[in-house]
Symmetry: C2
Subunit: 243 residues, 2 copies
């Protein structure tokens, strides 16, 4: 059970680490952090570094692939042709193709979500539409066959427990939940846009701006660039098909 | 607002990354990952590496210090005299001294929890007693003045939101919760020992054994060694007091 976490510069660490703690406990799990090169990768805070352990070339057939989101580099990563080609290739043989937060925008840019339902961070929902994806902003997890996408950041823990249940059975997944003592008890109840006040939403926008999370200017240009990525994907596909 | 995360070999990544994502969004936050040396630090899976950014010597007065837990090296870390001395020193001026999971055992070994209530991962509760700490296994977060300890692994997110609310106000903490879309919806309800079946508990023990999480032999010897650490702490204190 080889599990590949795409570990790109600017990644939001919790998007990746939440599912990692769950999925690494699956029977026979072999975990890899994959990127173009092996070595340290800066996350979106610019302070925390994670280590990439394997290259894409080293990892042609993971059983599970997971793409986390990013507060700073979703758009640029969604234009990384070599990554998108690798995602299309590994998706052909994966058991599960997963995303957390704005990671679904990268799956969409790879052409894996065409005409499907998917979710993402509430602030990135508009980034899915240019790729022909139906955003389901009211759902925490959206399963479409072997592709499962989740809402923002912390939702990756719920997504991974869902997949663990499907893969290893509910009894096993429950034991992982207990090992991680995942009995959440947030002191407030403002974790989704349906529950948060207008004031909380405005402040959340401000915090994300100031702390290297989602940047509106980048999002706006990303919406434009998404088209370019979609086009280049079509071009890539043609080249691939003509081989 | 300098925030120091103790980043030791064998740390459980989610113990640290959950609170990091919350606390880094505090106004004026300056995040540091501290250890004896700057550089890559292997987590308890042996596969994931995090980067230590600062040494203890570089970080004499953090406003917040957080000690995460470990599935493999809580006992050895709780015997690290230089770490324990640093914790005692920074606790004198910290605004908050925090632990997640078995990180409270390390705070206890530093002598910071004497005679106090505290919590930890459900499997590590017995490790607190030799240090004269009252384990509160039924609570997710235990606040004792500026020291706040939490239950296992995922509980660090709840702990950090609590501290964010105390430090920056409830309105600000709610906005962080929304930024992280922390509206948990686990597919199962077995995240605490009070909710899990006997079968789930047995399987959780087995998983933790096999996947580099808590090891009973290490725990048993740790309970003995805890006494040694407690004694050496007393000795350290005397040396300190006689200077």
């Amino acid at each position: 059970m080889q599990i590949a976490f795409v570990t790109y510069p600017g990644v939001t660490a919790l998007d990746l680490i939440g599912p990692y703690e769950v999925l690494r406990a699956l029977p026979g799990a072999e975990v890899r952090f994959v990127w173009h090169e092996v070595g340290p990768v800066a996350t979106d805070s610019g302070v925390l570094y994670l280590g990439a352990t394997h290259t894409f070339a080293d990892t042609p057939r993971p059983d599970i692939v997971l793409v986390p989101g990013s507060g700073t580099s979703t758009p640029s990563t969604a234009r990384d042709g070599r990554l998108l080609a690798w995602l299309r290739s590994v998706h052909e043989t994966s058991r599960w193709t997963l995303s957390v937060c704005s990671g679904s925008v990268i799956l969409a840019a790879a052409g894996l979500l065409n005409g499907q339902n998917a979710t993402t961070h509430w602030r990135a929902l508009d980034l899915l539409r240019p790729f022909g994806v139906r955003p389901c902003g009211d759902l925490r997890i959206v399963a479409a066959g072997k592709i499962v996408t989740s809402a923002g950041v912390s939702a990756g823990i719920d997504l991974a427990l869902h997949v663990a249940g499907e893969e290893a059975g509910e009894g096993y997944a429950k034991a992982i939940q207990l090992a991680l003592e995942y009995d959440p008890s947030p002191p407030f109840d403002s974790g989704s846009t349906s529950k948060a006040s207008v004031k909380t939403k405005a402040l959340a926008h401000k915090i994300m701006l100031e702390h290297g999370m989602f940047r509106p200017a980048e999002l706006a240009s990303a919406t434009r660039l998404a088209w370019g990525a979609a086009l280049s994907r079509v071009r890539d596909r043609r080249i691939h098909a003509s081989r």
